[in-house]
C-alpha cells in the first residue's frame, strides 16, 4: 500500500485572509479577468489598425479564380484551404517571416499578424495536416516560382505586380483583393 501521511482533516493551518477570499471568489475573479481582457481586446483592435501604407498585391497561377476575399486569403495563407475550385492544389509562396514585405502583406491584406500566421502553420505542419509554404527570398524568385508552379499563389509589391502582370498576362492572374470583394 502507498504510504500516506495523515493530516488533521478539519484544521487548515495555512489559511490566511487572502486565501479565504481567493477560495471563495476565485471563479468570480477569473471571469472578471476574462471579461476585462475581452474589453481590452476591442480597444486594442481599434488601436492596432495603423498598418503600413504599401499594398502588396496577390498573384495567382491558376485557370479558375474564386472570389478572392479576405477570408479566402486568410484561409489559404494559413494553410487551411488547399485546393482551387477546379481541384488544383494550392501552393502557397511567401517571403521569410522577417521580410518587410511579408509583414506588410500579412497585416495589410490579411489583417493578421506574422506571429499568428507562423503559429497556425506550425500547428498544422507538426500535426501532419499541412505542407509548409514555399519560401522565396527575392521578388524575382517570387515571380519565377508563381509563374512556374500551377496552382501557386504569392504576392508582390504593388508597382512590381502590375508590371509582371503586363509581362506575363497569359499565365499570371493578378488580383487586387479589395477590388474583387463583393464581386
Amino acid at each position: 500500500m502507498i504510504p500516506i501521511v495523515c493530516h488533521n482533516p478539519y484544521h487548515r493551518t495555512d489559511e490566511s485572509s487572502f486565501a479565504v477570499v481567493w477560495s471563495s471568489y476565485r471563479y468570480h475573479i477569473a471571469i472578471l479577468f476574462m471579461l476585462s481582457s475581452l474589453g481590452i481586446v476591442e480597444i486594442a483592435h481599434a488601436s492596432n489598425t495603423s498598418y503600413v501604407n504599401s499594398t502588396p498585391r496577390v498573384i495567382i497561377n491558376n485557370g479558375v479564380i474564386p472570389e478572392v476575399s479576405e477570408p479566402f486569403l486568410r484561409e489559404v495563407f494559413s494553410g487551411k484551404l488547399r485546393h482551387w475550385p477546379d481541384g488544383q492544389p494550392i501552393t502557397v509562396i511567401v517571403f521569410p517571416s522577417d521580410h518587410p514585405l511579408h509583414h506588410e502583406f500579412i497585416q495589410e491584406r490579411l489583417h493578421m499578424f506574422p506571429y499568428q500566421i507562423e503559429r497556425i502553420w506550425n500547428k498544422r505542419i507538426y500535426s501532419g495536416r499541412a505542407v509548409p509554404p514555399l519560401i522565396v527570398s527575392s521578388i524575382e524568385q517570387m515571380h519565377h516560382a508563381v509563374a512556374n508552379i500551377r496552382g501557386a499563389i504569392g504576392y508582390l509589391p504593388e508597382g512590381v505586380a502590375e508590371q509582371e502582370h503586363r509581362d506575363t498576362q497569359s499565365l499570371l492572374q493578378h488580383v487586387n483583393t479589395y477590388a474583387r470583394q463583393g464581386g
Binding site: 481582457s37 499578424f113 503559429r119 507538426y126 500535426s127
Partner: protein, 411 residues
C-alpha cells in the same frame, strides 16, 4: 536508436507499422527523382530543459533539479496525389513523473482533403489511422514545444495524467470548413480509442492494479467560429469517453471488473493583437466510476476548471506571459471535506482542487531557436497522479512551486 521500454505492447506495433508504411512509400517508383523528393516533407524538433519543484511529486520524488525535460520529434508527410497524403510522427518524451518516458507514435494517418460543391467556401478534411485530437486550442501539438506558450500547459485542461489518452486516438476524424458572410466556421468530429499500457493503468487507476485498463472509445465534436475582420476565434467542444477494467489474477488483484466514463464540455476563446495575445479555455467534466474498486461501488462527480492567459510581446524576440489556472475535482466538495471523510483522514482536503499562477518569459534567440522559462505557484494537488489513490507523502504541502527552463529548436 530509441529504446521503447514501457510502450512495448501497443506502441511498438504502431512504430513497426509506421516504418513499414514509410519504407513502402519510399520504394514506390516515382516519375522522377525530383518528383519523388517534392512529394516528401520532413520536419522535426528537439528540446531539452531543466525543472525544479518544491513539496511536490509532480516532477520527481526528491524535489531535486531534474534534467528530464526532453522532447524529440520527427515527422514525415508523403503526398500521394492532389488530395491524398500519408503523415506520421514519432516522438520521444521524458518528463520524469509527468507521464511515461519513451518513444511513441504521435500520429500516423491517411489524410484526405477536398473542396465540396466545387466551391472554395466549403472544404472537407478527413484522416484515418492514429489521428490527433484537434478539438482544443493546444491539444493537437501539446508535445511540440514551439507551438505552445509554456513548457507545462494548464493542468485543468491539459492534465498530464491523461496526456496519452487526450492527445490522439486510433480511429477517424474529419473537419468541415465553411467561409460564410459572417465569418469562418469549423465543424470537427472524431471517434476512436487510445491504447493504454500498464504504466498508464497505474497512473490513471492504481499502482496496485494488475489487470487490464482499456479505453473503449472516445468521441469528440467541436464547433469553432472566427468572425470576419477580427482575429478572434470562439469554440465549443464536447467529449465522451468510456473505459473498462478487467482484473488480473485473483490472488494478486485487489480490484474488481469495472467501468468508467469521462465526459467534458469546453468553451474556447483566442484573440491575437499586434503586441499581445489572449486565450482561455474553461470546462465542466463528469467522471463516473462503476464497480472497479469493489463490486457495487459507484462514484459520479462533476468537476470544473479552466485558465485565462495573456502574452505580451516586448519586442520581436522577447515576450512575457501570465496565466491563472483553476480546477476543482468535485463541484459538491470544493473544500475537500467529503474527500477527507471518505478516506478516513488519509487524503488531505487539498487533493480536491489545484489552482496555479504562472509567469513566463520567452526569448527567440535566432531563427527556429527559442528559450522558454516559467515559474508556477500552485495551491492544491488535485491534478496529480495516481488519480484514484493520491499520494500525500509525495505532496505534503498545499502550496508548492515549480520552475523550468527549456531550449527548443525545430526544423
Amino acid at each position: 536508436m530509441l529504446i521503447i521500454r514501457e510502450y512495448s505492447q501497443p506502441h511498438s506495433a504502431y512504430l513497426s507499422l509506421l516504418f513499414g508504411v514509410l519504407l513502402s512509400i519510399y520504394c514506390i517508383p516515382a516519375a522522377s527523382q525530383e518528383d519523388h523528393n517534392q512529394r516528401w516533407q520532413v520536419n522535426g524538433f528537439i528540446a531539452q530543459g531543466l525543472t525544479k519543484t518544491d513539496n511536490s511529486g509532480f516532477i520527481n520524488f526528491d524535489n531535486s533539479l531534474s534534467l528530464h525535460l526532453t522532447e524529440l520529434g520527427l515527422s514525415a508527410r508523403y503526398t500521394l496525389d492532389d488530395s491524398l497524403s500519408f503523415a506520421g510522427q514519432i516522438v520521444y518524451l521524458d518528463a520524469d513523473n509527468r507521464y511515461v518516458k519513451g518513444a511513441r507514435v504521435d500520429y500516423a494517418f491517411v489524410d484526405w482533403q477536398t473542396n465540396l460543391f466545387a466551391d472554395v467556401k466549403w472544404s472537407l478534411h478527413a484522416q484515418i489511422g492514429r489521428v490527433k485530437n484537434g478539438h482544443w486550442l493546444y491539444s493537437d501539438t501539446r508535445d511540440v514545444p514551439h507551438t505552445r506558450l509554456t513548457t507545462i500547459l494548464p493542468q485543468s485542461i491539459y492534465f498530464d495524467g491523461f496526456r496519452d489518452v487526450a492527445l490522439s486516438s486510433d480511429g477517424v476524424a474529419w473537419q468541415l470548413h465553411h467561409l460564410s458572410d459572417k465569418g469562418t466556421w469549423q465543424l470537427k468530429w472524431s471517434l476512436g480509442s487510445s491504447p493504454l499500457d500498464n504504466d498508464q493503468r497505474d497512473r490513471l487507476f492504481s499502482p496496485l492494479a494488475t489487470g487490464t485498463l482499456t479505453q473503449t472509445f472516445t468521441h469528440q465534436v467541436s464547433v469553432f467560429f472566427a468572425p470576419n475582420n477580427t482575429n478572434l476565434e470562439l469554440g465549443i467542444s464536447v467529449l465522451d469517453s468510456d473505459f473498462k477494467y478487467v482484473p488480473g489474477a485473483p490472488d494478486s488483484e485487489p480490484f474488481s471488473r469495472g467501468r468508467a466514463t469521462s465526459q467534458r464540455v469546453m468553451l474556447h476563446v483566442q484573440y491575437y493583437a499586434l503586441n499581445w495575445e489572449f486565450s482561455s479555455e474553461i470546462m465542466r467534466e463528469r467522471a463516473v466510476i462503476k464497480d472497479a474498486l469493489f463490486n457495487g461501488f459507484l462514484s459520479d462527480e462533476f468537476g470544473d476548471g479552466g485558465y485565462v492567459q495573456g502574452r505580451y510581446m516586448i519586442d520581436a524576440r522577447h515576450s512575457i506571459l501570465a496565466r491563472i489556472d483553476l480546477f476543482d475535482k468535485n463541484e459538491e466538495d470544493r473544500a475537500g471535506q467529503r474527500l477527507i471523510e471518505q478516506s478516513q483522514g488519509q487524503i488531505p482536503e487539498y487533493f480536491t482542487s489545484m489552482d496555479q499562477v504562472t509567469l513566463g518569459w520567452r526569448w527567440e534567440i535566432a531563427d527556429r531557436w527559442q528559450l522558454q522559462t516559467e515559474f508556477h505557484r500552485t495551491k492544491g494537488a488535485g491534478r496529480l497522479t495516481p488519480i484514484l489513490f493520491p499520494n500525500s507523502s509525495l505532496n505534503p504541502k498545499q502550496y508548492w512551486s515549480m520552475a523550468s527552463i527549456q531550449l527548443i529548436h525545430w526544423f
